[in-house]
């Protein structure tokens, strides 16, 4: 065997430029898988959460069970959640997507519901007075006004999903989590650190993207520049109550 080369890969440094250049494709694939898993799961969560929130608001009796069930799901640790889905989905990406979607449900249902309940009664009365039917009122008055609260939930759910996707490595579909898992087994410091930093960057990117989308979708709030309106109360409380789950 020839003498090992003295570069940062051989020295197993935490920060290693050679790692970035030689494993570019692996990193890119992992990032893509990570983004895909996150986006699909949050969209799935949204598709399930919206009808649940509407049901919980329309029928009072449904609110308790819907909120209770989603809270129970949120309490189950991620590793256990993925494990419980194993008999249904096997070692597949679908398992990770369904698990993450179930997690996002709590945050989404709660925030959509809070948004819908925050719609001023005068706005609803005005819509009814103008002859809007229930469907038109929901689509053109209530949902747009509920958007800021719903988007806050969506942002938290998405950021959490990015972090939780890494746990999918246990079934081999964890995006960047796979690299962290492999790096742990081979004590490959540069790989673990790079993948971890990329995870955080993806989360921040999604958060900013959704913030931009919210601004675009709610032009009537732009003039008032969210800051004084949000103040200490509502925004901080929403963050505080949401918590976070690994």
């Amino acid at each position: 065997m020839t003498a090992p080369p003295d570069d940062c890969l051989a020295r197993n440094d935490w920060i290693c430029g050679d790692y970035l250049s030689t494993r570019r494709h692996i990193l890119l694939d992992a990032v893509l898988e990570h983004v895909q898993l996150t986006v699909v799961s949050v969209l799935l969560g949204l598709v399930i959460a919206l009808p649940l929130a509407l049901l919980a608001r329309r029928r009072r009796w449904a609110a308790g069970p819907v909120l209770g069930l989603t809270t129970v799901l949120y309490t189950i640790p991620s590793l256990a959640m993925f494990s419980l889905l194993l008999p249904l989905y096997g070692l597949s990406a679908a398992l990770v997507v369904v698990g993450l979607a179930l997690y996002s449900l709590t945050l989404l249902v709660r925030n959509i519901l809070a948004g819908l309940e925050g719609v001023p009664a005068e706005a609803k009365d005005a819509a009814r007075g103008m002859g809007y039917g229930p469907t038109r009122q929901l689509l053109t008055v209530e949902l747009p006004l509920a958007l800021p609260a719903a988007m806050a939930g969506l942002r938290i759910a998405t950021v959490s999903a990015v972090a939780l996707t890494t746990v999918g490595a246990i079934v081999g579909h964890g995006g960047l989590g796979n690299l962290i898992y492999a790096g742990m087994n081979s004590f490959f410091k540069a790989q673990v650190l790079t993948a971890s930093v990329l995870c955080v960057l993806i989360a921040v990117a999604f958060d900013l993207l959704l913030l931009g989308a919210e601004r675009l979708l709610t032009p009537w709030r732009r003039g008032r520049a969210g800051r004084p309106a949000r103040g200490r109360g509502a925004g901080a409380r929403r963050l505080a109550a949401a918590g976070r789950r690994p």
Partner: protein, 224 residues
């Protein structure tokens, strides 16, 4: 149906409950890991949050900490700590990661609780001649208590989940039953382990729920 029967038979096999790798031992490990780290995190986070909340300083940090904590994958921190020199010292990477992730919800909720105390009440207390210390202990903390408790509850549930993940990096606790199941390619063991973990987490949540219901009215706060 078949899997359910297998899971049931795994759970009802006496041999799986006893010994070093048994459910009882893992359960006790998990419990002490959670409770011990919760105590340590409270000792670190609550004094800081109460001081900052009382002084009205560092709000951006206190509120944003929860956001930052949410964006950082627990699994990544566990592995990063394992690869540092700390990783050679048994449970230390697990304990540090657990405490790190329990601090944000504690800090944020306690801070928000302190800041949301009605300022009229605070002014009245000052007018009565209360010192800063009296203000914290007799006025602000009692009024902020429900939200402080919510933070402890979120942190506790979070700790149960993080302690489960610790099994991936060789830490003790109930997660080990799941990871061992994956290594043995035994679906019944994986699911059985997950059931035990889920029940443990839900019992923890239920204990807090019961505690909050039985607490005196001032500690419960308004229902939100």
């Amino acid at each position: 149906m078949n899997t359910l029967a297998e899971v049931w038979s795994w759970l009802t096999t006496a041999a799986h409950w006893s010994g070093e790798m048994g459910i009882w031992h893992r359960l006790v490990q998990h419990f002490w890991l959670t409770v011990g780290c919760l105590a340590v995190s409270c000792l670190i986070a609550l004094p800081v949050a109460l001081t900052l909340g009382h002084l009205g300083r560092g709000g951006a940090l206190a509120v944003n900490l929860a956001n930052i904590g949410r964006a950082v994958p627990t699994f990544a921190i566990l592995v990063l700590l394992l690869l540092t020199p700390l990783g050679r010292h048994g449970e230390w990477p697990t304990v540090i990661a657990l405490v790190l992730f329990a601090i944000p919800p504690l800090l944020t909720n306690a801070y928000v609780g302190m800041r949301e105390v009605d300022q009229d009440v605070v002014r009245a207390a000052r007018g009565m001649g209360m010192t800063g210390r009296q203000l914290v202990w007799r006025v602000e903390l009692p009024l902020a208590f429900p939200l402080v408790l919510t933070g402890v509850r979120i942190a506790a549930v979070q700790l149960v989940a993080t302690a489960t993940l610790a099994a991936l990096v060789g830490g003790g606790g109930l997660g080990r039953i799941i990871t061992a199941g994956f290594n043995l390619a035994s679906t019944p063991q994986v699911v059985a382990g997950a059931v035990v973990v889920a029940v443990f987490a839900l019992l923890m949540e239920a204990a807090f729920e019961a505690g909050q219901r039985c607490a005196p009215a001032w500690a419960r706060g308004r229902m939100r």
